[in-house]
């Protein structure tokens, strides 16, 4: 009798393990947070220098259309980031829009039409698409997509459209696999209930499954956009890297990442040119934040509806 009482009152091996495990896992998470914070602070510190120590006005930075940090005009360097911001947004939105029907279609195949073929063929296909390095995507883009664009639209072939096609393939796996998750989370009962009421499979998918999974699919889209926004090497190889306001989809343009990637090695840490590039990185960071907030918002809305 007393033995049991005593055992309940003394700290057991399990509770010691529990404490240790909790501490270890917390330290891991803490480590990650520390790294993330360090990067954030680092980028913010460098990126804000453009405005604090080089005295560029934020509005000129965001609204200016001339990017030429080597040149100073009226005492301020020409760092108008609007062309890159526009380019990034255009490519991201177009690529996501293009990928969306493919992603939803493929995801539906994997969940509702032929789950067997889905896991056997489509799943590995998606994983392989993710596994192809962006250097190779860029390489293929340069040797296939760009000449193709040129033969159809004339010009150099470089531009937003070429970037869109390359990014389309790159974000497809992300959006698809997240859409699959969203579709899978729709309870089986919904489907069987709809089918039992005499609806065809397509009606069930269209009216029940897709509708229920809408918040999840929206999240997938935003995720895809976030990935597209941050992609650098592949886009840089096909977009043409001209810091000009895009006038057409097949004229050379630039994105935040392409200018950042190509320029950073040729500038000296602490100069205006370098600071301006870090400011671009800061925009990327803030955009990423915005995408994440959007995801949270969608998730909240979705919960409310249910």
């Amino acid at each position: 009798m007393d033995k049991i009482r005593e055992s309940i009152l003394t700290k057991s091996h399990a509770s010691k393990l529990e404490r240790r495990g909790k501490i270890i896992s917390f330290m891991c998470l803490g480590g990650i947070c520390l790294i993330v914070l360090a990067i954030f602070i680092f980028i913010a510190y460098r990126g804000l220098a453009t405005f604090t120590s080089d005295h560029v006005s934020i509005f000129k930075f965001l609204g200016g259309t001339k990017w030429n940090p080597e040149v100073t005009e009226n005492g301020h360097p020409l760092v108008g980031a609007l062309p890159m911001i526009t380019g990034s947004f255009l490519i991201t939105i177009l690529a996501t829009l293009l990928a969306l029907p493919f992603a939803i279609g493929t995801a539906l195949m994997m969940t509702d039409i032929t789950p067997k073929m889905g896991t056997r063929i489509l799943q590995p296909v998606l994983e392989l698409l993710v596994g192809i390095p962006s250097v190779v995507y860029g390489f293929v883009g340069l040797t296939v997509v760009v000449p193709f664009m040129r033969s159809i639209f004339g010009g150099s072939g470089f531009g937003i459209l070429a970037g869109t096609f390359v990014l389309f393939v790159m974000v497809l796996p992300t959006i698809t696999s997240m859409t699959v998750d969203a579709l899978k989370s729709v309870p089986k009962d919904y489907r069987s209930a709809s089918l039992a009421l005499g609806a065809t499979r397509w009606q069930t998918i269209y009216k029940v499954v897709l509708r229920t999974a809408t918040p999840g699919i929206l999240t997938a889209i935003v995720f895809g956009m976030a990935r597209a926004f941050g992609e650098a090497l592949a886009v840089q190889m096909v977009v043409g890297n001209a810091a000009l306001m895009p006038t057409s989809l097949v004229a050379p343009a630039s994105t935040l990442t392409s200018v950042l990637t190509t320029g950073i090695g040729n500038t000296v840490l602490g100069t205006v040119q370098n600071d301006a590039l870090w400011s671009l990185a800061l925009i990327l960071l803030l955009m990423s934040l915005a995408f994440n907030l959007a995801i949270h918002l969608i998730a909240k809305r979705g919960e409310l509806k249910r």
């Binding site: 049991i4 009482r5 309940i8 003394t10 057991s12 091996h13 399990a14 509770s15």
Partner: protein
């Protein structure tokens, strides 16, 4: 004679109690799920908790071995062996070894049948191979599963049928030789044959264990339990020996419930 709002049977002092709750209040955020549930649970008996969905009986049960720690806010006292379980000095892991629990859905671990039982034993410091094998056999026999699985102990437990899996979960719990078994609607996911087997198992287990069972199946409560507590809106409104509860309920709501006029 259904004139009372509330009827709680009092025990004389010779009856040994396994668990006693006092002033128990359980909150989910602002919502008070349990507001009055002073119960005495006698040893080596089966006590059934019945009541409509949302009456708080499952919440009550889960609080008894503090499975609600991270989910709900539990206030009040739960007495076991002169210890208040709802206090900080209690080591929940050692306590749960004495007060085991089996859930609504069978949840065998994705391991072999043998390991399903030895896993917790090893964690509690029993590592002697011979003793482990013995405990596996006894617990499976007590849970009336031994004959069905003795030749496939090393196969995955996930391949068992629902009824077998649930009995494995019971075997897993009693292999630790606990004092008390808490069962949360253990038969609700099972077919009638499996349910009958399970009920038989429970009645046999009564010799060694105190059993508290939550059930929606009233005939089941009537068949196997010695005492019945009826929960309604977070309160125990009637607690009596089962026979009397079902034949001569003292509270109108209980009568309504068991005769099907309610919930």
């Amino acid at each position: 004679m259904q004139t009372k709002d509330r009827y709680i049977q009092q025990f004389d002092e010779t009856q040994e109690m396994a668990l006693t709750t006092k002033n128990l209040h359980i909150y989910y955020g602002d919502f008070e799920a349990i507001s009055e549930a002073d119960l005495q649970i006698p040893r080596f008996k089966i006590t059934a908790l019945i009541g409509a969905s949302g009456s708080g009986k499952s919440t009550f049960l889960r609080s008894l071995n503090r499975m609600n720690d991270n989910v709900a806010d539990v206030k009040g006292e739960i007495w076991y062996r002169d210890l208040n379980l709802n206090s900080k000095e209690i080591d929940v892991y050692a306590m749960r070894r004495q007060i085991g629990m089996v859930f609504q859905r069978p949840n065998p671990f994705p391991k072999s049948i043998y390991e399903n039982i030895t896993f917790a034993l090893e964690r509690h410091g029993i590592t002697d191979k011979k003793e482990l094998a013995e405990r596996v056999e006894t617990s499976l026999k007590q849970a009336a599963l031994w004959e069905e699985v003795k030749d496939k102990l090393n196969q995955s437990a996930l391949a068992l049928s629902g009824g077998q899996a649930q009995r494995l979960c019971i075997a897993r719990a009693i292999a630790l030789q606990p004092d008390i078994l808490l069962l949360d609607e253990p038969a609700s996911a099972l077919d009638p044959i499996s349910t009958a087997q399970l009920e038989e198992t429970l009645v046999n287990l009564k010799q060694h264990y105190t059993i508290v069972i939550v059930t929606h199946n009233l005939p089941q409560a009537a068949r196997i339990s010695d005492y019945t507590a009826h929960f309604s809106q977070g309160k125990v409104i009637e607690f009596n020996n089962t026979k009397e509860t079902f034949t001569d309920p003292k509270v109108k709501l209980t009568n309504d419930y068991i005769s099907g006029d309610f919930g």
